[in-house]
Structure formats: structure tokens, C-alpha cells
């Protein structure tokens, strides 16, 4: 392949893998914020928790079972948080929600540091995920290819659930107009607990998947939180399409920026964010207030 085309393909591939990670973690945040208007800055902590659980589980299990188990555990635990704590603040101000969830995030980070230490962790990869996979015209790192495949499958499943099932329709209705949905008999509270659990489980999954890409340290919870928030606000709250589009745009732009401009690379993500939000404050597919 000619040199620049090779670089372009690499950027696209890496960008796509990065975008998948962003999507998997952010989609839960987008739907819960769109549904309940609840600003949950502890979402990154759920991703981090998932990652650390995977680190622990892979001492006894393989990677895939660990990922699934971690997601399930975090999903289940998140229900306790939602019912016990978050529920009380649905009517609270943005500031209160931000402060409470940041407080939870700090507590989570401190707990992780206590049990796992501050040094970045990694996970053992099964053989078939190591090395490269040859697609004919060139080779790609297997793990990233795996991440892209997982992302694609999840997108398909989520799309189906959102657009074709009863529950998906109810969620979309409630995001669009909660009061109307409630008056039609939709149990928005239950719906929210469900989406929150699924969203947190996905975050945990994303956190576990990210370990191989970024390493896992306790500060993961806040470092990447900014990115998740960017994806969610640029994509539009409560929109699957929006989250995906934003994840793709930001993932690829960021990767391209870092490839092509090394030092200045990080700039792009934020510049794109400001540009989009100034023109479309509710994001690509968000509802204007």
C-alpha cells in the first residue's frame, strides 16, 4: 500500500477501535442522562470498577468470561446505588448531582487505590487475541480488531433493542417526553433502573476492554470521564445514533490528531466539542430544550 494510504488506514482502524471503546462506555451515560436528566459523574468509576473486577477475575477465569461476569456484577451493584441513593436526587439541581457523583467517584478511586495500588494493571490475553490478524491487504492488531467486532455486535444488539422491541420504544418515548410517557402508563422508574443497570454494565465492559489499550489505574475514573461527557454532550442525550456518531467523530479525530500532530493532537477533541456545541448546543441528535 502507498505510505499515506497506509497511515490513513491505520488511523481509521485505531480510531475505530477507540471509538468503539468510547461508545460502549458512553451509551449508558447518554441514555440515562437523556431519560432522567441525572448528571452522573460516577459513570467513569463504574467503568473503572469493571476494569478492576476483570483484573481480579482473570486470575481464575479467561478474559471473555471475566468481562461478562464483571459487567453483570457492576450492573447488579449499580441497581443498589440507583435505588438507594440516586433516586433521592432526581429533582435536585445539576450542581448537587455533579457534587454527589464526583464525591462517589473520589470514594471509588480511593477504594481502588487501597485494594489494587496506584500502579497501572494489565490483563493476560488469550493467545488468539495476541499479535496480529492478517486481512489480506495488511495486518491489524488482533485485540483492536476484537474490540471493533465486539463494538459492532453491541451496536447491532442495542439498535435492535432500541428500535424493534417494546422496551426500546418505551425508552424512546420516555426520553422524548417523560410526563407524557408516564401518563400513558409507562413505568418510567422501572425503565430507568433497567437502563441504568444496563448502562453501568456496559461501562464496566468498556472499562475491562480498555485495559489492554490504556492500562488501568485508579485515575481512570476521572481521566476518561471528560471524554465520556464529551461524547454524550456532542452526540445528544438519550440518542443511540448520536452517541455512536460522536464516538466515531471524536475517536477518529483524536487518533488522527495524535498520529499527525503528536503534541498538538489532544487539542482536536476539545476544539471539535466547542465547535459542535456552539452550533448545536444539544449535540448532534439531542432535543433542544
Amino acid at each position: 500500500m502507498p505510505h499515506y494510504a497506509n497511515i490513513a488506514v491505520s488511523i481509521l482502524f485505531d480510531g475505530l477501535a477507540y471509538a468503539m471503546f468510547l461508545f460502549i462506555v458512553s451509551v449508558g451515560l447518554s441514555v440515562t442522562m437523556g431519560l432522567m436528566g441525572f448528571v452522573n459523574l460516577a459513570h467513569g468509576a463504574f467503568a473503572m470498577a469493571g476494569g478492576y473486577l476483570v483484573v481480579s477475575f482473570t486470575r481464575h477465569l479467561g478474559l471473555i468470561p471475566s468481562l461478562i461476569l464483571a459487567a453483570l456484577v457492576v450492573g447488579a451493584v449499580s441497581v443498589v446505588f440507583e435505588r438507594g441513593l440516586y433516586r433521592r436526587l432526581y429533582k435536585a439541581t445539576d450542581l448537587d448531582q455533579v457534587m454527589l457523583t464526583i464525591g462517589l467517584a473520589f470514594m471509588a478511586i480511593a477504594t481502588a487505590t487501597y485494594f489494587y495500588g496506584p500502579i497501572p494493571k494489565s490483563v493476560p490475553l488469550p493467545d488468539w487475541l495476541q499479535g496480529d490478524v492478517n486481512l489480506g491487504f495488511r495486518s491489524f492488531p488482533s485485540y483492536r480488531a476484537f474490540l471493533i467486532v465486539v463494538g459492532a455486535v453491541l451496536i447491532a444488539v442495542l439498535w435492535y433493542a432500541f428500535e424493534r422491541t417494546n422496551i426500546g420504544a418505551k425508552i424512546r418515548a420516555a426520553v422524548d417526553n417523560r410526563r407524557m410517557a408516564e401518563s400513558v402508563g409507562i413505568n418510567v422508574d422501572l425503565l430507568f433502573t433497567l437502563t441504568f443497570a444496563v448502562g453501568s454494565a456496559l461501562a464496566a465492559l468498556g472499562g475491562g476492554l480498555a485495559i489492554q489499550l490504556f492500562g488501568l489505574s485508579p485515575s481512570f475514573a476521572v481521566l476518561y470521564l471528560v471524554l465520556f461527557l464529551i461524547v454524550v454532550s456532542v452526540g445528544g442525550l438519550g440518542s443511540l445514533k448520536g452517541t455512536l456518531l460522536a464516538a466515531l467523530v471524536l475517536g477518529i479525530f483524536d487518533t488522527a490528531g495524535k498520529y499527525l500532530f503528536a503534541d498538538a493532537g489532544g487539542f482536536f477533541v476539545y476544539a471539535v466539542t466547542v465547535a459542535v456545541l456552539l452550533v448545536k448546543p444539544a449535540g448532534f441528535y439531542g432535543r433542544e430544550q
Partner: protein, 335 residues
């Protein structure tokens, strides 16, 4: 004027006067600060940093507590002030401290004005992200020109001329402490006047019911940009003092961590009451100094826990707890 009407007018005038007249309790923070100067002479460098944090939190209170605007990028203005003085001293031979303060205030106020004019048309998550992204971009810009800014290693060994050409800096930071204390007093006086002015009252109106304000003809956006600019200027002064007292500045002044810290200080202390900034910043800094030396992990956990508890139970912060207790005490003393 009929007597009842005159009496009503008198009562109303008295009520309003009482609201902004000086209360004896207001002398306390200043007396405590001066007392610390004599009681803890060896901790004055730390003392300066506490006062700087108070000023920073004060500037945020104008925006957050009074105007009701939630942003995530307030550290940007602190950083601009810090770097105005830093670059001035390191690259442009500007060592005079007082004029440095003015320059820093102007620079950060200017950026506050421009960014506020564009960004304050938005609210909620959009505003949070816009202010956060702006602050990060400023930081990244500084990183790009690390030849100028010193990057994350910063600009060390800055020198400043003695205050007014007379007061030299001593090794123990005594001069610095008094310098910061006096500056804080001036800044506080200005902030207090603004808060109790008709403009300050309009800000309260905007916070309480912006719909109503629009309907009565208030130029809401203009008011918000004004207070944002002033707050940015004050944050810039705090940043400038930071550089001057540390003789050192790095890009970490722009960190999101700082924006979060100052919000936490204000929440813990109590928003919208000016003195909340004093209590919150002082308590936070002192606890951080003590606990993070013992165990940074426990400190982080503790701060997180305090935030959660504050939101759930102590909604008006420590200042709220104190004033509630004082009121209950007063009531129980009445016959």
C-alpha cells in the same frame, strides 16, 4: 405622608439597611487570620496559600453562588493570572508585583469577558462542557508553546521586586502573608459591595427566577457577562498572587483538578454567602495539608465522603451549619 405609611417606609428602609450593614461576626475571619500570623509564624507560606484559595473560591461564589451559573473551567482564569505574572517576570523583565496584579486582573478579565459573551448563552451540560473544553484548550495551548510556558515543568525561580520598593520578602513568607491578606481584604470589600448592590440583587433575581427577570426587562446576558468578567478578574488576581508567593508557576494551574477543588471548597463552605468561601477554603486546605500527608488515599476517600454527606444533609455547607446552630442557640436563650 400618613403615619402608618411613614412607619412602613421606615421599617422597609431599616430591613434593607440591616441586610448589608456590617455584622460583628464578619470581623472574625480577619481576626483569626491576623491571630494565625502571630500564633503560627512558621506556617505563613501555607497561610498565604490558604488566603489565595479563599480569594479563588470567592471569585467562584460570585458566579456560582450569586448568579447560579455552574461551570467547570474556572481554573482557566486562575491560570491566566498566574501566567501573566509568570511570563512577565520570566520573559519580559516585569518584576514589580502590584502592577503585575493589575495586569493579571486585566488579562483574565478580558478572557472572561470574551468567553463569557459567547458561552453564557448556554446552560446545563452544554455550558459545563464548553467551559471545561475551553480551559483544557488553554492548557494545551500552553503546552504547545512550552518554550514560553515552561510546560508542565513550569517557570521556576521567578523574582519579584519588594512591595512598594520598601518591604522586602523574608524567608518565612511573613511579608507575603500580609501582602496577600491586604489584597484579599481589598478584593473582598469590592465583592461585598457588588453583592449588596442593585446589580447583585439582580443577580439573585436571575438565579431565583430567570423567566421573571426577562419579563421585567432585565438584560440577563449582559448581567451575567459582567459578573463573569469580574469573577474572572478576581480569579486572575488569585493566580497572580500564587505565582508571586511561590516564585514558580507550571501549567498544572489550569488543571481540571483545580476547577473541581475550588467548587468543592465552596460547596463545603456554603455558596452564595461570601463567607462560605472563607470557611470552605480554609477547612479544605488545612485538612488536605494534614490528611494527604498521612495518606493521600484516605484523604481522597474522606473528601468524597464529605461531598456526598454535604449534598445529602448539609445543603448550605459549613456556614449553613454554623449559622443554623447560632440561630438555635439564640432562640434557646430567649426567655
Amino acid at each position: 405622608m400618613q403615619p402608618e405609611r411613614a412607619a412602613a417606609r421606615e421599617r422597609a428602609a431599616q430591613y434593607l439597611i440591616r441586610r448589608h450593614s456590617y455584622h460583628w461576626g464578619e470581623a472574625l475571619p480577619w481576626l483569626i487570620a491576623i491571630a494565625c500570623f502571630f500564633i503560627f509564624p512558621d506556617r505563613m507560606t501555607f497561610g498565604s496559600q490558604v488566603l489565595i484559595a479563599v480569594m479563588f473560591a470567592l471569585s467562584l461564589d460570585l458566579i456560582l453562588g450569586y448568579a447560579g451559573i455552574v461551570t467547570l473551567g474556572h481554573a482557566a482564569f486562575f491560570g491566566i493570572g498566574a501566567y501573566t505574572v509568570g511570563l512577565g517576570a520570566a520573559k519580559f523583565g516585569w518584576h514589580e508585583p502590584i502592577s503585575g496584579l493589575f495586569a493579571a486582573a486585566m488579562a483574565s478579565a478580558f478572557i472572561g469577558f470574551v468567553s463569557g459573551w459567547f458561552l453564557l448563552r448556554y446552560r446545563g451540560l452544554t455550558l459545563l462542557m464548553l467551559t471545561l473544553a475551553t480551559a483544557i484548550m488553554l492548557q494545551e495551548t500552553g503546552n504547545l508553546r512550552s518554550d514560553l510556558s515552561g510546560g508542565y515543568d513550569g517557570l521556576p525561580g521567578l523574582e519579584f521586586k519588594p512591595l512598594f520598593g520598601v518591604f522586602d520578602y523574608d524567608l518565612y513568607g511573613h511579608t507575603n502573608f500580609l501582602y496577600v491578606l491586604v489584597t484579599l481584604a481589598v478584593v473582598f470589600y469590592v465583592a461585598r459591595r457588588i453583592v449588596y448592590s442593585p446589580f447583585g440583587q439582580a443577580l439573585t433575581g436571575i438565579r431565583e427566577n430567570v423567566r421573571r427577570m426577562h419579563a421585567i426587562g432585565s438584560p440577563v446576558h449582559r448581567r451575567l457577562v459582567t459578573v463573569y468578567t469580574i469573577a474572572a478578574g478576581i480569579a486572575g488576581i488569585a493566580g497572580a498572587l500564587f505565582t508571586q508567593t511561590n516564585a514558580y508557576v507550571t501549567l498544572t494551574v489550569f488543571d481540571f483538578d483545580n476547577s473541581a477543588k475550588v467548587m468543592i471548597m465552596l460547596i463545603l463552605g456554603g455558596t452564595g454567602r461570601l463567607y462560605g468561601a472563607f470557611i470552605g477554603a480554609a477547612v479544605y486546605m488545612i485538612m488536605e495539608d494534614y490528611f494527604s500527608k498521612m495518606s493521600p488515599t484516605f484523604w481522597q476517600f474522606g473528601i468524597g465522603l464529605m461531598l456526598v454527606l454535604a449534598v445529602l444533609f448539609a445543603h448550605r455547607g459549613l456556614l449553613g451549619v454554623i449559622t443554623d446552630a447560632a440561630r438555635r442557640f439564640q432562640r434557646s436563650r430567649k426567655p
